[in-house]
């Protein structure tokens, strides 16, 4: 059964000169145990799409369903990990992780054990009492991950989660996210990742949804059947990367480009 169904979604925003269409006619599904990546150039509505899926914003037309229920308010079965980590600097690691559980109204005696479990599975043991400023970027994003997983979401939504990290740290965290996703004892069941980095998408996902430039439309859904861990230098990997690049650069409305536009600015 599909966990998420996105059906003919349009999104536009009003401006002084009329409405601006961000995305048009987006339809796809995320099934149980899928790892799906969405790639596309800046401004194609990737992050907006994640917000719509979680119910933080509403489509202008079309519908989004979670387990056949229409998403019209924030869906507690999904949790988001952000590029900027979005931690509260005045709270410790443990307090940041428990924050979401408190907001969901968990009983305080259940919160402690839950926080401990997710601090442990994300490798944060020893940092419970640390404040975000004491942590490296990689450790901060682990807190973001622990906070998201602590609510035991069916779907983990990740919005450019590795783009503010140095390359080695990003490599480590990508592998850890795969490990958590594959562990049947742990959430999430499915991951929906937004990335401007095509190699990263192909390295991680089973399926890559390729969006065009604004207004974002689905150009293709590319299946990735390479065994993990995936060798970025292999011919098969290179072919897939090339195919996705070509789709984006030739599928847009203006002249072909050899590279995607720059990454969104990294958070400080």
């Amino acid at each position: 059964m599909a966990l998420i169904r996105v059906e003919h979604v349009d999104k536009s925003f009003a401006s002084r000169h009329g409405s601006i269409s961000i995305m048009q006619n987006i339809s796809f599904e995320v099934k149980d145990s899928d790892f799906v990546a969405i790639v596309g150039p800046s401004g194609c509505g990737k992050s907006t799409l994640l917000r719509l899926i979680q119910g933080l914003d509403h489509p202008t037309a079309g519908s989004i369903f979670f387990q056949d229920q229409k998403v019209d308010t924030v869906c507690s079965q999904m949790a988001m990990v952000f590029q900027s980590f979005a931690l509260y600097p005045w709270l410790t690691v443990a307090q940041n992780v428990s924050f979401g559980l408190e907001a969901l109204g968990w009983a305080s005696e259940r919160i402690g054990a839950q926080v401990e479990r997710y601090i442990s599975v994300t490798g944060l043991d020893g940092f419970q009492e640390a404040y975000p400023r004491e942590l490296s970027g990689g450790m901060r994003q682990r807190v973001g991950l622990a906070r998201a997983l602590a609510v035991e979401p069916a779907v983990l939504l990740m919005d450019e989660p590795f783009s503010a990290l140095d390359p080695l740290t990003a490599e480590s965290l990508r592998e850890e996210v795969l490990q958590l996703w594959r562990d049947p004892q742990l959430p999430p069941d499915a991951v929906l990742l937004v990335s401007h980095n095509i190699e990263e998408a192909i390295q991680l996902a089973d399926r890559v949804i390729v969006l065009s430039r604004r207004p974002g439309q689905i150009l293709a859904q590319v299946e990735v059947e390479l065994p993990r861990p995936r060798d970025r230098k292999s011919a098969a990997f290179y072919d897939l990367t090339d195919r996705v690049y070509s789709l984006i650069t030739e599928g847009g409305t203006s002249a072909p480009r050899s590279r995607l536009p720059d990454a969104p600015p990294a958070a400080g």
Binding site: S120, V121, T122, G123, D125, G126, F127, E129, A130, Y131, E134, S136, G138, M139, R142, D166, P167, L168, T169, A170, E171, S172, L173, R174, E175, E176, Q179, L180, D183, P229, R230, D231, R232, K233
Partner: protein, 206 residues
């Protein structure tokens, strides 16, 4: 030149090991760096400390997993910590630090105390102190009290002859072995030598 001080954080080193695993566990150092569009010197700190922890060995510019390194990448995030903890305990740096903590009042040391300990072999800097604290915390060997800026021994590691014994100055980390340790870039030393060195250190440190 002191080489056993971490110049990377644990996540960066794990990143290097994950990368090496993507390359089937053995790769030319330059090609490994190139995979992430990095220069060799940018992966060097991670490579160096992975070698100190006996997780990889570098021979003639090629980096290869040790058995332990291969095991590390195969186990869960949680279990990796236990391996790192045991390997850190074997380093001169952490042997010295843990001994100092065991002998210190309340099993606690200030940032300055830690700076003093490492100043015997390197110029103490905030970055050096922070890296060491980071590794110690990651491995759950120490805790850090940020309000008082002091390092505290994690209860688990208070084994053996801890307690209010006679307080003697900690042994300086690094001795002869620090200076003679070859740089991993052109290193040809192998794991048995490293173990030998660790064994002789155990003797030195009692």
């Amino acid at each position: 030149m002191p080489t056993t001080f971490p110049k990377c954080n644990p996540t960066e080193m794990m990143g290097l090991l994950v990368l090496l695993n993507n390359h089937k566990g053995s790769e030319d150092v330059a090609l490994l760096a190139d995979d992430l569009d990095l220069e060799i010197d940018e992966i060097f700190p991670a490579l160096e400390f992975a070698e100190v922890l006996q997780l990889v060995k570098v021979v003639e510019g090629r980096v290869t997993f040790t058995d332990l390194g291969r095991k590390l990448v195969a186990v869960s995030i949680r279990d990796r910590k236990a391996i790192i903890r045991e390997q850190l305990r074997k380093t001169t740096l952490f042997r010295t630090l843990l001994r100092a903590l065991e002998s210190a009042p309340e099993h606690a040391l200030s940032d300055e105390d830690l700076g003093q300990i490492i100043s015997l072999t390197t110029t103490p800097s905030d970055e050096a102190v922070q890296n060491i604290v980071n590794w110690g915390r990651y491995a759950d060997l120490i805790r850090y009290d940020s309000s008082e800026q002091r390092i505290v021994l994690t209860r688990r590691s208070t084994g053996g002859k801890s307690g209010p014994g006679p307080s003697h100055p900690p042994s300086p980390p690094g001795d002869a072995e620090e200076g003679s340790r070859p740089s991993p870039r052109n290193s040809t030393h192998t794991a048995p030598e490293t173990e030998l060195r660790t064994a002789s250190l155990a003797h030195v440190l009692g």
